[in-house]
Amino acid sequence: MADTVQTLINMAAKRFKADAAQLRPEDDMFERLGIGSFQAVELISDIEGEFDIELPDYELQGVKTFAALAQKIDKRR
């Protein structure tokens, strides 16, 4: 889980040009990264490629933090 959330943070920071050191697992990732629909779709594709999983969009319902998303990812690995 710790590895997953850090990998996720690093990946999102790289994609959206943020400073990974400033991002925390409990941060609202959409708010911190300032991402909308199109960027969220890019993030899902990155996640699927990085973790070699399928992550249905509806799994993101109610997910706001990096930690919550990392949990969803781990359940599909």
Binding site: I35, G36, S37, F38, V41, E54, P56, D57, L60
Partner: protein, 257 residues
């Protein structure tokens, strides 16, 4: 909105309407104009997007909502039917063009955009591509011929998943399912399509057209059933309510469930 070019037997249509090539009357008019100007000597059509977000987010929901608001409820069926008939004429004509048609997909390829992509003979996806039928969220089914066209290429299990869950799938899944036939890295899709077009141009025209006609037919009966179902569902209050929510939403992520 659509930048059209033609060189060495290859038509290229670059969809360039912000934010992400929503299909409304303006785009349809341009596609209709293109279809009346196809060079008889052409061998390939490449369809791609210059919008960063992706290939196409689908129908212009704001235009659809405004059109329904401007029409008495008892005439909604006729209005939707006329629009769908116009779209089907365009989509069916692209589908059956006597050219090799190549769709280059990156980013969002949702709803009507997915249906437009499915008119192409060959789909090349960049790794960022995501395909989705979100129509059930609006209380309707895909109405531009998407399901009948998709059924030509992939198994019903995946189609039911896409249709009934509204989820999106990425390029790797689309490749594994046979929906796309090539996946390339970001920014390489158009170059891959041009390379394929150059190859297509080497073939005898009659044989190339015959090969396409042999392998690809229009699923006419199922398209007619889909049209009827779409028009029926589009007259229910659920669509208007969903469109109102979409148009009035300030959510930054309107395309997520």
């Amino acid at each position: 909105m659509i930048v059209m070019s033609y060189q060495d037997g290859v038509h290229e249509l670059a969809l360039g309407a912000p934010p992400c090539n929503e299909i409304g009357s303006a785009m349809l008019t341009e596609l209709e104009a293109f279809l009346t100007s196809v060079d008889p000597e052409a061998h390939t059509l490449i369809l791609h997007s210059t919008q960063r977000g992706g290939f196409c987010t689908g129908a212009d929901l704001r235009e659809l909502y405004q059109g329904l608001c401007d029409t008495p409820p008892e005439q909604h069926g006729a209005r939707v039917g006329d629009f769908i008939d116009r779209i089907h004429r365009v989509m069916d004509t692209i589908d059956m063009l006597p050219l090799t048609t190549i769709g280059v997909i990156h980013g969002v390829c949702f709803g009507g955009g997915f249906e437009l992509a499915l008119t192409c003979d060959i789909l090349i996806a960049e790794k960022s591509a995501r395909f989705c039928f979100p129509e059930l969220r609006l209380g309707i089914v895909p109405g531009f011929g998407g399901i009948p066209r998709l059924r030509r290429d992939v198994g019903n299990a995946l189609i039911r998943d896409l249709l009934l869950s509204g989820r999106s799938i990425g390029a790797a899944k689309a490749l594994a399912a046979g929906l796309v036939s090539q996946v390339v890295i970001a920014g390489e899709g158009l170059l891959a399509a041009r390379s394929l077009a150059a190859q297509s141009g080497k073939f005898d025209g009659h044989a190339r057209r015959a090969a396409k006609a042999f392998i690809k037919q229009l699923p006419a009966e199922e398209l007619a059933r889909e049209r009827a179902l779409f028009v029926e569902l589009a007259q229910r209050p659920a669509l208007l309510a969903a469109l109102k929510r979409f148009v009035e939403s300030t959510d930054l992520r309107p395309y997520l469930p």
